[in-house]
């Protein structure tokens, strides 16, 4: 049975997002449900033409402690697929988003104290700052995939889907000449199932 590329699965019909509050303020990165129809249609062409070659995992950079940062070292496997500057730009922007989410300052104190005063019940109705930034990250990754990575046969998976441990970049090979997946401007959604 041929491997069904996860890339394609990620673009497939989006499952019902988990909604509703739970005790742990679970994450729900935003999905652009409006694009799903066009994605699915382009997806059919992609399935015929693209197959997953390998995956590269960008590891965490712990040099500044336990805050979420990723290494900007350019992996060798991407050498022929994408320019170094694009990759570094993406990782640096992601790092800055995560730094913003985890910043300990006035706003986080305020949020913490307010929440404590309400015995944290307020988190059942309010979205935390971290979750807001995670949505921004999800949109950013989607946009990067659309504009830069998908045309080069690559796909970035949102780190939240991998436990914030790695940035997974899937590398696809064009199979045959029937599909023009390299140049197709399919909109992509990298997150599903959340």
């Amino acid at each position: 049975m041929p491997l069904v590329p996860p890339y394609c699965e990620a673009l497939a019909v989006c499952p019902i997002k988990a909604t509703g509050s739970d005790f742990s303020t679970g994450t729900d990165p935003a999905l652009s449900n409006g694009n799903m129809a066009t994605e699915f249609h382009n997806l059919q062409e992609l399935r015929r033409s693209a197959s997953l070659a390998t995956k590269v995992f960008i590891q965490r950079d712990y040099s500044e402690g336990t805050i979420c940062q990723f290494q900007t070292k350019f992996p060798a496997e991407l050498d022929s697929r994408i320019e170094r500057t694009f990759f570094e730009e993406t990782v640096k922007t992601l790092n800055s988003y995560y730094a913003e989410a985890e910043k300990i300052g006035g706003q986080s104190y305020l949020e913490g104290c307010l929440a404590c005063a309400t015995a944290y019940i307020i988190f059942l109705c309010m979205e935390t700052r971290y979750e807001k930034v995670l949505k921004k990250i999800s949109r950013y990754i989607q946009e990067q995939n659309e504009k830069i990575y998908a045309p080069r046969g690559l796909l970035i998976t949102d780190p939240i889907e991998r436990g914030m441990r790695v940035i997974e970049i899937s590398i696809f090979e064009d199979r045959g000449s029937s599909g023009s997946s390299g140049s197709s401007s399919s909109s992509t959604s990298s997150s599903s199932g959340r």
Binding site: L3, V4, T25, G65, A101, K103, R129, G163, G193
Partner: protein, 380 residues
Amino acid sequence: MSAVMVARKAPRRWEKLPGKNTFCCDGRVMMARQKGVFYLTLFLIVGTCSLFFAFECPYLAVHLSPAIPVFAVVLFLFVMAMLLRTSFSDPGVLPRALPAEATFIEMEIEAANGNVPAGQRPPPRIRNVQINNQIVKLKYCYTCKIFRPPRASHCGICDNCVERFDHHCPWVGNCVGKRNYRYFYLFTLSLSLLTIYIFTFDIVHVVLRSVDSGFVNTLKETPGTYPPTVLEVLVCFFTLWSVVGLTGFHTYLISLNQTTNEDIKGSWSGKNRVQNPYSHRNIIKNCCEVLCGPVYPSVLDRRGLMVETPTPPISTTATKNSDPDPQNTKTTAPLIPNEHTPDDTKPSIASSPEKSSPKEPPPPSLGDTGETTPVKEKAF
């Protein structure tokens, strides 16, 4: 899974998660398997407070001030909220590596080790990282197939790697980790206050009644005093010593930005001149980071739906990697021998019941169980 499954309601991811947690409310609530001691905690708190509200409060409200029961109610509700929040939250569980990631790490390890002569034990799987000019060793978790982030540890009771692992607390029926440490601390703090409060006003109550009718008579004659008050005083007395002590200990840990796990292992005790790289060297900053830091989201997807895929590839497949997994699982399993480094077998440390000893990875048999079931690996 056959096509029949598609017609049925799709299961949620928590149903297929590896690890030994139990889930309630369709994945919203997450606890450890053994909950007996947690029920005892609930019983003690609710029972003692009920006795207090039933027997002491009416007298105190009339003879002293109605504010006394009101404050007691507020404190009680806060304690319960913190307890439930600690017990039901995801402590910061790290999802296990998917086969692709596990293979990638394997290859990196093999590349780093070079050629190991046959018959010789390969070197332990350790990655060194430099954090704030200290070398910290990251260990490889054979169960979860990842290099554990700094401060993370594997809880043998829940069979999960937990970020900023503090300890597994049977009294709350859950691990205490990055995401629920502040709730745990506030629980112990508010429980200390509640215990002191009830203890004090029990004594006040007995004193006030004794002023009227003598001490011994108070105990004998006044209905409702003898069993309830004495019970409350006993419970509070014994609870005081343990909970107040625990609160003090955790206050100390927070001011140094350490976890119970690190304290027990002596990671930063300074014997190797290794200092805590996570501490800000400022008590206020450390406290603020732990208690007022950002609220981390759960990275464990419990409530997402898993749509099982029938064989045709163009059918609705929502679970990423669901199809490649069965094949990858078979190829990756032999690559990952389930051997343990000497460091992994640590003596279980006997400590007070409130601080349950953090457990290291279980013996190989349990690790194998995690590996060989494709369904479990498929989810995360």
